[in-house]
Symmetry: C2
Subunit: 311 residues, 2 copies
Amino acid sequence: MNNQLIERVAAGDVTAVARAISKVEEGGPGASDLMKQIFRRTGRALIVGITGAPGAGKSSLVDKLAACYRKRGERVGIVAVDPSSPFSGGAILGDRIRMQTLSLDKGVFIRSMATRGQLGGLARATVDAVAILDAAGYEKILVETVGVGQDEIEIAKTADVCVVVLVPGMGDDVQTMKAGIMEIGDVLVINKADRDGVLRTEKELEGLLSLAVRTDPWRPPIVKTVAIENRGIEELAEAIDRARESQQSAPASNERRQAIARWRILELLRERLLSEALHSDSTSEKLDRLAADVANKKRDPYSAVEELITK
Amino acid sequence: MNNQLIERVAAGDVTAVARAISKVEEGGPGASDLMKQIFRRTGRALIVGITGAPGAGKSSLVDKLAACYRKRGERVGIVAVDPSSPFSGGAILGDRIRMQTLSLDKGVFIRSMATRGQLGGLARATVDAVAILDAAGYEKILVETVGVGQDEIEIAKTADVCVVVLVPGMGDDVQTMKAGIMEIGDVLVINKADRDGVLRTEKELEGLLSLAVRTDPWRPPIVKTVAIENRGIEELAEAIDRARESQQSAPASNERRQAIARWRILELLRERLLSEALHSDSTSEKLDRLAADVANKKRDPYSAVEELITK
C-alpha cells in the first residue's frame, strides 16, 4: 500500500501527495514506513522559508513568489504552518482561501499544517510534508511560518534559504532583534515598501548587517517589495537564487545540514518516546487520573511522571 | 541541600528563589527533587498571563501593572518568556533593563526565561519558575509571553487569568483571530489606546465577544490602556480581580486546572524520556554520527531514531 503511494508521489500525483501528507500528520508506524522511503528521493528541491511577524504580509509575498516561479515553468509547493495562535489564527488559511488564482493552477500544491495532537509533532510533520513535496518533484517549496515562537523558528531554520519579512515603521523594534534576524535570515525583505519609514528601516538593517558576523561569506541582501502590487518579487527570486549559489560553494553548508538533521532526529525521538509511553489504554486512563490528582494538589507533576515511567 | 534551599525559598529569600529557578532551568534530578517539595507549597498566588503580538506593549503593561500591585502592598513576581525569536528577540530583556524603578524594588522579582537546551523544556521550566515564586509568597505573578507560537500559547493558558493585549489598527487582523483570542483571553486589553482606530478595534472585539461561546459565565471585559502613561492600569487590575472571582465560583475552573495539569505532565514526560534516551556519552556520540549520516543522505531520520531507541 505504501509502495504504491510512494510511486504515485514520485510521479507527482497530487492526490497521492495530499494523502501522504495526511499520513505524516497522523504520525505513527504508517508515517515512519512512508518517510523512510520518501527520504531517499529528496534533495532536489530548493526549500525557501518565509518568516516574519504577524501582519508583515508573508502570505501575499509567498503567493506572488510562487506565481513568479510558475512563470519560470517550475512547480511550486507551499506549506503554511498555522499554529492556531490568536495572533496568526486563521489568517494563513484565510489568505489561502482568497488566493484563487494559484489554487486553480495544477503546478502549485498548497497545504496548511495546523493540527497538533498531544504528542506535539507539528514541526516534525511540517518537515516531513516538505520532504514529500520534494520527492514529488516540486522544484521550489515555500514554507511559511510566523517568525515568533520556538518551534516556528526551528522550522524556518530547516529551509535552504530563509527569507525574513519586515515592514517599515518597526523602527525601535529592529534594534532589539538583530541577533535573531542575523542568525536565521539569508535574505531580508522590507515588504509594504510604499509606506513611510522604509528608508529608515533599510538604514537600520544595513547598520546591523555591517556589524553581523556570519560563519559563511554570504551577506544577506535587503530586498524591497510591495507584495500586493507584485513589486520587487523578481528581485526577491534572484536574491534567493544567489543565496543558494553562495551556500553551495561555501563550507558552512554541511554544518547547517548537520544541525538540521540533528534537530529532526531529536524532534522525532521526542514524539516517538512519548507515543510509546502513552500507547496503551491503561496509560491514557492513568494520565487522566494523575492529571486530576495534580489539579487537586494531591500530587505533584514530577512524581506523576515518575509513576507513568516506572509502570 | 535542597531542604535548606526550600526553607529559604519559603521564607521569601530572593537569592534562594533565583537559585531555585536556575535549578529548574538546568532540569535533571535536582530540579525534580526540588519541585516535588515546592509543589505542595503552591496555590496561594494569582498567576496572570500577559500575552500579545510583538509590539503590542506587553512589557510596559506588565511593569505598570506590577507597580500597581506594589502600591497595594503586594509582592510581585515577573517571569518573561523570551524564546530568542528574531521578532521578540532581546526586546523583553531590553525592556527589563530600561525598567529601572521596579528592579530596585525588593518586593519585585524579575526573571527572564530564555535558554532552551536540546531537551526543550522552556515551557516546563517557566511553569516551574512560577511555582517557585508562588511558594516564595509572591501574591501576584505576571507571566509575559509573546502570543504567537505553540509553546508560548500553552504557557499563557497555564495562568489563572490570561490577559490578551491588542493595539488599535490591527483592524483586518482581528477578524481572523477571534477563535484564538476567545479561547485564551479572560481580559482583553487595547493598549496604546490614544492611537487612531481604538473605537473600531473596540467595536470589532465587542462583536466577537457577543458571538463567543464560553464554557463559563465570564464575559471578558475590554480594558483600554496607555501603558507608558500609566493610564487604565487600575481598571486592568480590577478586571483581573473580577475574572479571578468569577472563576472561583464557576465549575469550569476545575476542568481548566485539570487540562493544565495534564499539559504539565506531558511536557515533563516528554523532556524526561528524551533525557533518559540521551543520557549516556555513547548516545551523544551516536547522535552526532547519525546526524551526519542523515545530513549526507546515507540514512533517513526515522531509521536513525529507531537505532537510537533499540540500542
